[in-house]
Amino acid sequence: MSTDSRREFLRKLSTGGAMAASGMALYSMGSCKRPSENKSTLLTTDGKLVEVSDSEIQALEKRSVPPEEARKGIPGKKFVMVVDLAKCKNAKKCIEACDKHHNLTPDRPYIKVLEMKDNEKSAPYWMPKKCFQCDNPPCVKVCPVGATYKRTDGIVLVDNERCIGCRFCMAACPYSARVFNWGTPPDEDMDISYSPETSVPSTVGTVGKCDFCPDMLRMNKLPHCVTQCPNGVIYFGNELDDTVTNGEETVRLSTLLKDKAGYRYMEELGTEPRVYYLPPVDRLFPFEEDTEAEEVS
């Protein structure tokens, strides 16, 4: 089999109506396999056998959910994140992993690690900030075309095939979580089909933001920022399980929030974020100024 015909097959898979059936098969295959150059033999819709390397299958999984399906959410899940501010030392691995996964340039990341200082006398701390995936999302309220929407699993996604680029959601978000593709993004011409669940490729003139990596969640895998954090700062889980994990440690969500006085940023706005913070007390690391990053406020 030539590379071309495999590509062709993959493209058919990702775009065609055979998606639902073959998607399930691929899904179960992918979840039990390690990334290697193993090859699998698959049956195409027109009855031919093709050999596909597993890395290509994984690349396909990333874009397996078409926009209409991506509106519904993963059944029986309510995703939630807890960020332990006592553990963050601004290693920025979450940003790097996110940028890589979403093909972002370093000047406009989805995740930001902010230097915070609550008042004159209190100590500064690092605050990793993503989209808060609010349960009362101001951005979704104002969207004129439903290009950004709230799913049953709590995630707020952007469909950049519908976004008209009015940027009202950016004005409405009190947490500055959204970024805009002002010019042509580097990945716009990538030969992959778009899904709101992967947010790639980006499109000029549309809005993007942190999406909690639903493509990973569909495989019961943690988002990239969680797994890539060297200090276990970010806990992630299904609220309906009452359990969160940072990849190493698994804890009851309710116990964690109770014991460590978890809070949500700017509760008073009534946006009901799905991201909780644990106060920066009993720090693991001393605060060190970021020497590389330019500092403005």
Binding site: G73, P144, V145, K150, G165, W182, D242, R252, V296
Partner: protein
């Protein structure tokens, strides 16, 4: 009689000649003026071509300052368009006869401004190619949708208002202007909809203009109030205000009046209409401007006093920036030059003369434009979370030449539309008393100026919106775990028994108990769960742990990394969890729900308002068609252009 002729066109009266002269003659200064406007329009088109090609990257807007001068310019034009309603509704309903010569020019300005506003909002879109998604995927919950609906409604009403007021004069032009080019004659013939001065036609026209005069008022208030809601429905400092609606509306009336004064000045000068737009008109417009400025001043004080007294967080930063910071020069120019100055100067009768008033009005218009700049841009630069870790270009906003070119060309478009309307149609009614009984051109007119201001004030006071709103090693042995479950009223215990391959109890072995969760295994039991001499370990299952919909939980018991035994797992499903209720909030009607789940009151209110307004508009169309059909009984007036 010779002086009633212009280039072979005969006029019946002096007034006809004065009012219609510019329709039949074209001056060099007019051509030059159109040339200048076209130059700026082309410059703007080049800018917009570049924006279409490269995206909004050609602007200075970035993720923080995500709205720029396009939006402030949009707000500006919406504001200007309100002036049509001021004259053709508020002043007319109050029988301010003095204002009648100004009605048409105000309506022409309103039509031009609302067209420009509608176009600018498309220019600001990242994906103008998806404009019709606004209709295809319409979400009634979004204030943008409200704005789109109200702008299109107001556009139609403005055009109707203008049309109804010039209809008899179009017919007059059709019948009496003989030296026009063919296309113009055809245009008049078409637009005159068979008007032949029948009393029945006149009665219908009276009716239409009365309906329009009343209906335009709520629409005009709505258009700018809804535009203010684009800002007031967010948490941005300076926008998160319940005062914003009336603040915008009052500012709109003030800037609109200033635009009228400037228009009056130039029309009077270039069309030689001094006998019709007199110093008295300027005097009264001056008083009106002072009154409207005072109303706007009142809402300005309301807008800034509260936040500057409290100085809360980012709101305080924003106020500081405006009062004494980066934006202070612009802020004080706007407040002093564009608001205080007209009040202070125009209270003097001596200054209520054409030239000084025109200059003051230019300041008011500049102030009004920069005011909208100050409303849109600084607010976006004070988010709740600090701006860090972004490209340097994201930190400030200096509009690029493309933005300026497009903005300036929007002014050129505006002026071009106004100019062409004036060139095609008489600005001043041809017959002084053709419409209503305006026999009493009262001296009490002065006092009447107070009424419109009072109405605006009352309306605004009432309309303040309340928004808020494993790895195995061969040396290791196998062990077997068997599970028992004991349930009492208050406790649920898991009892695990470990036996080796010889079926002997295993002592001193650590077991690990887990519950399966979405991403990982949640440890339960104590920190160490070590078997006793009987090979038994008992742990308590947590009481309140969620299970699936039926309350099932998957319990795992493991031997891990033991020195003697292989790793092993036993797994069992137990109905010990708390059943999880399926989330139904997604199906509920809410502001953030999908279009199909919009809140019912919102759907009912918006739909009925739109229906009411558009029924009225269709009714007016019906009446206009009725006028057109009344042509069968020929009156003595035979149109001179019957051949056309």
């Amino acid at each position: 009689m010779k002086d009633l002729q212009v280039k072979g066109q005969k006029f019946g009266t002096r007034r006809e000649k004065d009012v219609l002269r510019h329709l039949v003659t074209t001056t060099t200064s007019y051509k030059l003026w159109i040339g200048v406007l076209l130059f700026f329009i082309i410059l703007g088109l080049i800018g917009y071509y570049r924006q279409l090609k490269f995206g909004l990257i050609v602007t200075a807007m970035r993720d923080y300052t995500s709205w720029g001068i396009y939006i402030s310019n949009f707000v500006f034009f919406v504001a200007i368009s309100l002036v049509g309603s001021l004259f053709s509704s508020i002043l007319r309903l109050n029988k301010n006869q003095w204002a009648r010569p100004l009605i048409r020019v105000s309506e022409m300005i309103a039509v031009a401004a609302i067209i420009c506003a509608a176009v600018i909002i498309i220019v600001d879109m990242g994906r103008p190619d998806r404009f019709f998604y606004v209709i295809k995927y319409l979400r009634i919950q979004s204030p943008i949708i409200w704005d789109v609906i109200i702008i299109s409604t107001y556009l139609v009403i403005s055009i109707l208002l203008l049309f109804v007021s010039i209809l008899p004069d179009i017919a007059f032009c059709r019948d009496n202007l003989t030296i026009l080019p063919r296309w113009k004659k055809r245009l008049y013939h078409l637009l005159a909809i068979n008007w032949d001065y029948q009393p029945r036609q006149q009665a219908i026209l009276q009716k239409i203009s009365k309906i329009l005069a009343i209906s335009v008022l709520p629409v005009a208030f709505a258009i700018h109030t809804i535009t203010s809601w684009l800002f007031a429905t967010t948490w941005r400092p300076g926008w998160d205000s319940t005062n914003l609606g009336p603040y915008f509306v009052s500012g709109a009336f003030m800037s609109g009046a200033a635009v009228i004064i400037v228009a009056m000045y130039f029309i009077r000068k270039h069309l030689n209409l001094k006998p019709y737009i007199t110093d008295i008109h300027f005097d009264r417009m001056g008083k009106l401007l002072v009154l409207l400025s005072l109303v706007y001043l009142y809402f300005n004080i309301n807008e800034y006093l509260g936040p500057s007294f409290k100085m809360v967080g980012v709101e305080g930063e924003h106020i500081t920036e405006l009062f004494v910071g980066k934006y202070a020069p612009m802020y004080w120019f706007v407040q002093l030059g564009g608001l205080i100055l007209p009040i202070v100067l125009l209270v003097f009768k001596k200054l209520r003369k054409p030239l000084p008033m025109m200059i003051v009005s230019v300041f008011v218009i500049l102030g009004a434009w920069f005011k909208r700049y100050l409303i849109v841009i600084p607010s976006l630069q004070h988010p709740y979370l600090p701006i860090q870790g972004v490209d340097e270009s994201y930190l400030h906003y200096y509009p690029t030449w493309e933005e300026w070119a497009i903005t300036i060309s929007s002014f050129a478009w505006f002026l071009l539309i106004v100019t062409l309307l004036i060139k095609l149609f008489p600005v001043i009614p041809i017959h002084k008393e053709s419409a209503t009984t305006d026999k009493k051109e009262t001296k009490a007119g002065d006092k009447k100026i107070a009424y419109p201001a009072l109405i605006i004030f009352c309306f605004l006071s009432f309309s303040i919106p309340n928004m808020q709103i494993a790895n195995a090693q061969e040396v290791l042995q196998d062990a077997q775990i068997s599970l028992d479950f004991r349930e009492t009223e208050h406790t649920k215990n898991i009892i695990a028994t470990v036996r080796d391959s010889a079926n002997m109890p295993v002592e001193e072995l650590d077991l690990y108990f887990y519950v399966k969760r979405t991403f990982s295994l949640l440890p339960i039991g104590d920190f160490f769960n070590t078997t006793d001499e009987a090979g038994v370990v008992e742990i308590e299952f947590p009481q309140d742990l969620p299970g699936d919909e039926q309350g099932n939980v998957t319990i795992l018991v493991k031997i891990l990394e033991s020195d003697i035994y292989n790793d092993q797992t036993v797994e069992t499903v137990k109905n010990w969890g708390v059943p999880t209720a399926l989330d139904v909030t997604y199906e509920k009607r809410s502001l953030w729900a999908a279009a199909a789940n919009a809140p019912l009151p919102l759907v009912i209110i918006t739909t009925s308002l739109i229906m009411a307004m558009w029924l009225l508009i269709f009714y007016i169309f019906y009446l206009l068609i009725k006028i057109r059909r009344m042509t069968t009984q020929k009156t003595k007036r035979v149109p001179k252009l019957k051949s056309v």
